[in-house]
């Protein structure tokens, strides 16, 4: 069964169509990249999936259940995790407390299990030695990693990452790809990404959005060979 499905999902901003009748399916346990030129409506799309942005019309199904009417926090409670395009952590709190808030929704009644989860997640992403640091004092790259840690700490069924490698150094991008690959099979990942290296190396499956509409779907090899995609997007991006 597909973990996520949308039917006719549409968003209109005062006459501008950001997403037009997007029918999308997301396969369970895979890493799917959502790509497309700037302004293709990728962030709007995942915003509507996660409930941050109200849809103009259309439906969202999560685990076969229609969640179109649920507010964002209820969707997250069903097992979605979401990282923002623009880094969004609790800047005044320590790294540990940031992750504790993420894991605490389900584990706050059991302090020991909570502590174990936090330690395990921080170890996994490699910032355990910084757990006492204030999040706002971390470097940009570490803040992005912290945000990913906050997503993982929720043990999500579906993990939506909105441009996680934006602004990262090349070595950090390589670490990110490795981290994401280790998550394959554990959870389903929907990745919005501009960096073609990340997409080609990390994704099992690619969906291309162009001008608010679904343009193509397929494996990285298929997408690479797709003429329509090349015209719309890859031709310029890969050469650049």
């Amino acid at each position: 069964m597909n973990i996520l499905e949308t039917k006719g999902l549409t968003k209109v901003y005062g006459g501008v169509v950001a997403n037009a009748d997007v029918d999308f399916t997301l396969r369970r346990g895979q890493i799917t990249a959502l790509i497309g030129p700037n302004g293709a409506g990728k962030s709007t799309f995942v915003g509507m999936v996660s409930g941050r942005i109200p849809a103009t019309r259309g439906q969202v199904f999560f685990e076969g259940r229609d969640i179109s009417a649920l507010p964002a926090h209820k969707r997250i409670q069903l097992g979605m995790a979401y990282t923002f395009q623009i880094t969004s952590v609790f800047r005044g709190l320590s790294v540990y407390e940031n992750v504790a808030l993420a894991a605490g929704r389900t584990l706050s009644a059991d302090p020991e299990a909570l502590d174990r989860r936090i330690t395990a997640v921080l170890e996994r992403v490699g910032i355990k030695d910084r757990s006492r640091q204030i999040a706002g004092d971390l470097s940009y790259g570490h803040q992005r990693i912290l945000e990913i840690a906050m997503g993982l700490a929720q043990d999500p069924e579906l993990f939506i990452l909105d441009e996680p490698t934006q602004g990262l150094a090349e070595s950090e991008v390589a670490d990110f790809i490795n981290l994401i690959r280790t998550l394959a099979g554990e959870t389903t990942i929907l990745l919005i990404e501009h960096n073609m290296k990340v997409v080609m190396e990390a994704a099992d499956y690619i969906t291309v959005l162009d001008q608010g509409m679904l343009l193509a779907e397929g494996t990285p090899a298929e997408i690479h060979a797709n003429a329509a995609v090349q015209a719309a997007y890859l031709g310029t991006a890969v050469d650049a």
Binding site: A72, H73, K74, Q77, Y82, F84, F90, L93, L101
Partner: protein, 314 residues
């Protein structure tokens, strides 16, 4: 764990000092500290909403007044015993907080400030409108005989001090505990980054409403306590001045710290007290000090302590 025990030691140490203060301070200051403790309860109430949840209410006087009038009117018109009147006062404040919260929390930021200010003005005008019962600006006095707490006279200096101390201690320690619970930490999360908190699956609207209800009820508790200990109920306490004062206390003492409210009230009380000994225009001196503190210590006194010497300060 050291962090927790240090904070606990600090809180208990402050309470111990307040007990000792009663025995060593001259009468004038004993009376002053009684008043300070009552007003500090009020500041604790606002601190939960403003300092911890990040919601700036400019209308907390309505909750203080709800407690004060809930208590005073219950005694005046129902001849209710003190404890019952106190419970009614808390219910009145909680109910008002719920209604105001449901409406005002539909807004955020500056709009929230204005809406709470408007609600408080309405509350003030309601008090004046029903002057037949509330005696309006003039207010009314609760007789000594009406202020027996389980047969115990709270109008004596000793009685007043220790009733104020007991209620303060409960609110102070309860509050310190509350902000360490998952509930308290989620309020801080909302203050730090509301959208992030929502996208971690927290029902931000519900948490804010709960914070407002607890905050309003604590403020109402202070209002009822004031009426009980000082025997006076008047519309001044519903005026805009009494919405701004707790904000100043919290800002001066340190918003978002457990000890800030007490420090702020005490500092401001003695600032005005000391400067009025020299000049009639004492508010000028108070104002100047406030401006300087805001410029050089925007996080308040406890905020500075946390930054410089006590990073573990809760």
């Amino acid at each position: 764990m050291t962090r927790f025990s240090k904070a606990d030691a600090l809180h208990l140490g402050i309470l111990a000092m307040l007990v000792i203060a009663f025995f060593v301070l001259p009468t004038y200051h004993v009376g002053a500290v009684s008043r300070i403790m009552v007003l500090a309860v009020y500041a604790i109430g606002l601190n939960l909403l403003f300092g911890y949840t990040g919601l700036l209410s400019l209308g907390h006087a309505m909750f203080f007044a709800a407690g004060m009038y809930g208590f005073g009117l219950a005694i005046k018109f129902m001849a209710a015993p003190v404890l019952l009147a106190f419970v009614l006062a808390l219910i009145a404040a909680a109910a008002l907080s719920l209604v105001v919260g449901l409406l005002a929390l539909r807004t955020a930021g500056v709009a929230f400030m204005i809406v709470t200010l408007m609600f408080a003005q309405t509350a003030y005008l309601v008090v004046l409108y029903f002057g037949e019962f509330t005696r309006g600006d003039e207010g009314f006095v609760l007789q000594q005989a009406e202020r027996l707490l389980l047969g115990f006279d709270v109008t004596s200096e000793t009685g007043r001090y220790f009733v104020a101390f007991s209620v303060f201690a409960i609110c102070f320690l309860g509050f310190a505990r509350l902000v360490q619970t998952p509930f308290g930490k989620r309020l801080i999360a909302i203050r730090e980054n509301e959208e992030r908190a929502r996208m971690l699956g927290y029902d931000v609207g519900r948490y804010k409403l709960l914070a407002l209800i607890v905050s309003g009820t604590i403020s109402g508790c202070a209002g009822a306590l004031y009426a009980l200990l000082f025997g006076y109920v008047g519309a001044t306490f519903a005026s805009v001045q009494y919405s701004i004062l707790p904000l100043l206390w919290v800002l001066l003492g340190g918003a978002g710290t457990t000890i800030g409210p007490l420090i702020g009230v005490m500092f401001m009380f003695y600032l005005i007290d000391a400067s009025s000994a020299y000049t009639n225009s004492y508010m000028l001196i108070a104002g100047l000090v406030l401006v300087l503190l805001t410029m050089f210590a925007p996080k308040g006194i406890a905020g500075i302590l946390r930054l410089r010497v006590m990073p573990w300060l809760p």
